[in-house]
Symmetry: C2
Subunit: 214 residues, 2 copies
DNA sequence: GACTCGAGTTACCGCAAGTAACATGCTAAT
DNA sequence: ATTAGCATGTTACTTGCGGTAACTCGAGTC
């Protein structure tokens, strides 16, 4: 009942929890996100109720699983974002980091963003909304903070930074999602095109001659 | 057995289908996306198997339901995008149209984008991925087409337009989603901020004095 | 009048989430 | 040594939903 013992038990529980998460990871990455709790428990060599003792419900397991990957991704994004370099370089490095991550582990990415996929029609899979949003939101908020911290945006800078943070993250996400599905160009080209967009090339482009309207 | 009769039956079936869709719409908008097939059938005054005869499976019903709303939204977006006005005005009008739509009917929006939400933990709800993506994808492709058709982007214009189309749509979507949840500012302000972003204000902004790095 | 055919129902299957109640083994205080 | 307590684990169950099979009913056709 003394401290050391409690710590000992807690350590054991934490270790177990990590083992379970790793097993869950393997299953989810193999079977897709519709993996059942039974399957995950089996992979971990135990049975369902233990999972429920550790994670409450399926959403809890999902959240824990997602947190690991989300934290890891955010760490590498922060590194790219904080690197000492010119702004455009930093932006491109950040975009590239994100895209490289989703390219390297599309299974993880699809799990985080599109939890329900693959499998027969009617498989419920994990639920999204509560979970995919957080990654986007967290990325948006982090980016907003960096923007507000580093850029001089005049009055209303905080709000502007947040809008931009979420907007840029969404841009990155949607373009990345599309790119990952169709692979219409190299990663470097995609990064360049997106950076160009952020650098105002849309506004600077000329109208097409003979096009409709003006 | 002749043509007119077949047409008559088809008409009847189509009418029924529309009725079912409207009932499904009501239920989904009331109960959230975790509405069960039983509940939808009950609202329509019939029982499950009929739904399955008409829509195959739950995904089919969802797809039909989503298509209605998606088509309607795309129509209004096209109108804003094709209006005879300056580019910035058109961009702002399109953003505003989208945001107004999701603001006016958040239930519909949440259904299309975050099918699983609300309700107790563990409700499976509809699946996403197969469904929320299509809306984003279709918007992205449409925008890409307009961009490529109207802007002079030099070599590689088609690919650039597609990247931008999906990127801009993603920006709009993520910012809109965040905004809808937190309402940190008026719609007009949000529109202005996003347009500013697209107009290159991020690149043009000065570094904050005393900030880290350069 | 028997026959088809589409619309509809009841009653069921399978399966996954989540829970209760029971078993077992380790630590610790008496 | 014995026994209380607690974490860890199991089996076996309930509940609820997606999906389907098999039957019923009513209207029009030869």
């Amino acid at each position: 009942m003394d401290t050391t013992q409690r710590t000992e038990q807690q350590r054991s529980a934490d270790r177990r929890r990590r083992e379970l998460l790793e097993a869950a990871d393997r299953v989810v990455l193999r079977d897709g996100p519709q993996a059942s709790m039974n399957a995950i428990a089996a992979e971990a060599g135990i049975t369902k109720p233990i999972l429920y003792r550790h994670f409450g419900d399926k959403g809890g397991l999902y959240a824990a699983l997602a947190k690991r990957h989300t934290d890891a991704l955010l760490d590498s994004l922060r590194a790219a974002l904080d690197a000492p370099a010119e702004r455009r370089e930093r932006v491109e490095a950040t975009l590239d980091t994100y895209l490289a991550a989703i390219e390297a582990r599309p299974q993880v990415y699809r799990f985080l963003m599109h939890p329900s996929e693959g499998g027969q029609p009617g498989d419920p899979g994990f639920d999204v909304g509560k979970h995919s949003a957080p990654l986007l939101r967290r990325m948006g908020e982090e980016l907003a903070q960096v923007i507000e911290e580093r850029l001089d945006l005049g009055p209303g800078s905080q709000q502007l930074a947040r809008v931009w943070g979420h907007g840029i993250v969404g841009m990155m996400h949607a373009a990345g999602d599309w790119w990952l599905g169709e692979r219409p160009c190299s990663r470097a080209e995609l990064v360049g095109s997106l950076a160009d967009l952020l650098w105002g090339r849309l506004a600077a482009a000329g109208d097409k001659i003979g096009g409709p309207g003006f």
